[in-house]
């Protein structure tokens, strides 16, 4: 395991137009930690402070037990990847990657060996002679990642690394980040505004809120830290709930089924989906995509389940109904492995169907409504 744990104690950063208030984080060695928050400068400031590029006003930062609060960035052994890559445009890809190695006084042969090795790990060997200006976004971000990883950092900081990419490249690189982290085990702090990205990658998530104060001053603080499920099942307050939204997100195993569908097994429940992915995945179904009825539904929807209403949350014209599955005979077989789906219906439907808590209902949703990531 490379990398060390990070302890951030009572950290305050004061910049001209932004301040970061009382950040306390305890990140384990080898953990993939995601800082989630709306688009704004706050998350970058946090990462840059950890990297030593801003001097904190108060507080301490410990890396692998060592107090690095006042160490210059070049002595911290921290890899940094920016959203728009920040590759040195006057150096080739190989020279970019070798930049940090050269500073460590490494011999030419060893540098070449390491550059080639990291190039293989990230699938960019064929790009080594190219100039950064000729690379696509996904390629450039892989190079930036290689450049940060090749110095074997104790901590890897990723500042919205996927946000500048098109959806397909983003998905591929997101999986790549997970794979590289599993292979190298580098302690990672990844900053993003994308909740699904956070869920897919993060062992734990910290939610950062930014408040606009008077005179254009903005203030950021961490308001919840927890495992992904905790964040969206038990949001600490209204802000987190609103930011995360009401979602059905589950972790499962995807495997091929007939007709080109994939079946994702979640707690023993099989959900049909359309995706390229296999193996360990996350699925999400939007509450408004789930049909709810008292009678079995005859529809084209591939996914139909029976359950019981365990919660009704009234939000005015719309109502969120929580349905627990499985219900009935299969309940005993499930051995307490329950799955709660949140469905969104109108207040009027609720009244027409006369839904009440504890009532048996049927839910259905299309395979195409299941987002796998």
């Amino acid at each position: 395991m490379k990398g060390g744990g990070v302890e951030i104690k009572g950290l305050w950063v004061e910049l001209e137009e932004f301040r970061l208030c009382d950040v306390n984080l305890d990140i384990a060695a080898g953990e993939y930690f995601v800082v989630l928050g709306p688009t704004g400068a706050g998350k970058t400031v946090l990462l840059e402070t950890i990297a030593g590029l801003h001097r904190p006003f108060r507080g301490r930062i410990l890396l692998a037990g060592e107090d690095i609060t006042h160490a210059p960035p070049e002595r911290r052994g921290i890899g940094f990847v920016y959203q728009d890559y920040a590759l040195f445009p006057h150096l080739s890809v190989a020279e970019n990657i070798a930049f940090g190695l050269r500073l460590r006084g490494m011999g030419r042969g060893e540098i070449e060996g390491r550059v080639a090795a990291i190039g293989r790990l990230l699938g960019i060997e064929h790009l080594l002679h190219r100039m950064p200006g000729t690379l696509s976004g996904g390629e450039a971000q892989r190079v930036a990642l290689a450049r940060a990883l090749v110095i074997e950092p104790r901590l890897l900081l990723l500042d919205e690394p996927l946000s500048a990419l098109d959806p397909e490249t983003r998905e591929a690189l997101q999986r790549e980040l997970g794979r590289v982290h599993r292979e190298l085990g580098t302690t990672t702090i990844h900053v993003t505004h994308d909740f699904e990205e956070a869920v897919a990658l993060g062992d734990r998530i910290a939610v950062l809120r930014e408040d606009r104060l008077d005179e254009g001053l903005r203030e950021g603080r961490i308001i919840q830290v927890g495992r992904p499920e905790e964040i969206f099942r038990r949001p600490a307050n209204e802000f987190v709930a609103r930011f995360v939204g009401v979602r059905n997100i589950f972790r499962g195993e995807a495997h091929p089924a007939e007709d080109g569908y994939k079946l994702v097994t979640v707690n023993g429940l099989e959900i049909a989906a359309v995706t390229e992915l296999e193996g360990s995945v996350h699925v999400s179904i939007r509450p408004e995509d789930i049909l709810l009825s008292r009678e079995p539904l005859l529809s084209s929807a591939r996914n139909a389940f029976r359950g019981r209403i365990v919660g009704i949350s009234d939000r005015g014209t719309i109502v969120y109904v929580t349905v627990r599955i499985p219900f009935g005979r299969s309940l005993r077989q499930a051995q307490g492995k329950l799955l709660d789906f949140v469905c969104m219906i109108t207040r009027r439907s609720l009244e027409e169907m006369e839904l009440r808590g504890g009532m048996r209902v049927h839910i259905a949703f299309k395979a195409s409504a299941v987002h796998v990531f």
């Binding site: 960035p73 070049e74 890899g79 040195f88 930049f99 450049r147 110095i151």
Partner: protein, 261 residues
């Protein structure tokens, strides 16, 4: 070409612009073609002329070198850091452009003159400004440093500060990050600023003539020949100066341009 004359507005703009271009090109062309090659050759053989041209180029090069050493760091600070009084510093850098150059010469004389504190202090090291090469150099430096500092500042401003930040995280000291990242990326702007400054120094007359009439730089020599012997004696020198400058800067531009790839 079709886009140049695309509509009536474009055509009228072309005519107006052309007037200005002719205004520059015509006198230059007249001067260059007025002297016979034989006459030019004769002028070139005049040792005083050659020495003055050499002195002009050399003095301006020295001024550019001094501005490079102190001006590039200043430009970097102006591009990267917000500090109190920054606007004032920026204004000061631009002042030499707007001050009449003879007035700049007087101002320099007040500080570097023989009987001034600084003049005497430098005198202890055998450095004299009035009527000497150092005087020519500081006069040129004063009137032309704005060009280098401003060009270099624009160059640094165009470099993403995050490149330096990344370099720092990869293990680079601030010095290393500057030399390996910011400086090479701003080099094109710095170089073109240096060329511009050198050229401006070579063409300086007003400030130099007040600090150091002797040794004579080419523009002063030209002025003296004109005053003492008249147009026909001054003209070949003017031709020679224009040709030398044109040749030098065309060559420099070509070399600098080729690096752009």
């Amino acid at each position: 070409m079709s886009t140049l004359f695309a509509n009536k507005m474009r055509i009228s703009f072309v005519v107006l612009g052309l007037l200005l271009i002719l205004f520059i090109a015509w006198p230059l062309l007249r001067t260059v073609t007025a002297s016979s090659p034989a006459r030019l050759w004769q002028t070139l053989l005049d040792e005083e002329v050659r020495r003055s041209i050499g002195l002009t180029f050399y003095a301006s090069l020295l001024a550019t070198a001094i501005a490079f050493v102190c001006g590039v760091p200043l430009a970097y600070l102006l591009a990267r850091v917000d500090f109190p009084g920054k606007r004032l510093v920026e204004g000061l850098v631009d002042i030499p452009i707007v001050v009449p150059h003879s007035a700049a010469g007087i101002a320099l004389l007040m500080v570097f003159g023989r009987r001034t504190l600084l003049g005497q202090a430098f005198g202890l090291f055998g450095l004299r400004f009035v009527s000497a090469l150092p005087g020519i150099v500081i006069a040129m430096l004063f009137v032309s440093l704005s060009f280098l500092v401003n060009a270099a500042r624009e160059g640094f401003e165009a470099v993403d500060p995050r490149l330096e930040k990344v370099a720092r995280t990869l293990g680079a000291s601030p010095w290393w990050a500057f030399w390996r990242v910011s400086f090479p990326l701003a080099w094109r702007s710095i170089l073109s600023g240096m060329i511009l400054m050198w050229a401006r120094g070579i063409s300086e007359f007003g400030a130099v003539v007040i600090l150091a009439y002797h040794p004579m730089i080419a523009p002063v020599l030209l002025y003296e020949r004109f005053e003492s012997f008249g147009l026909s004696y001054a003209r070949p020198i003017a031709t020679l100066l224009i040709l030398t400058c044109l040749a030098t800067f065309t060559a420099l531009r070509l070399i600098a341009g080729r690096k752009r790839r």
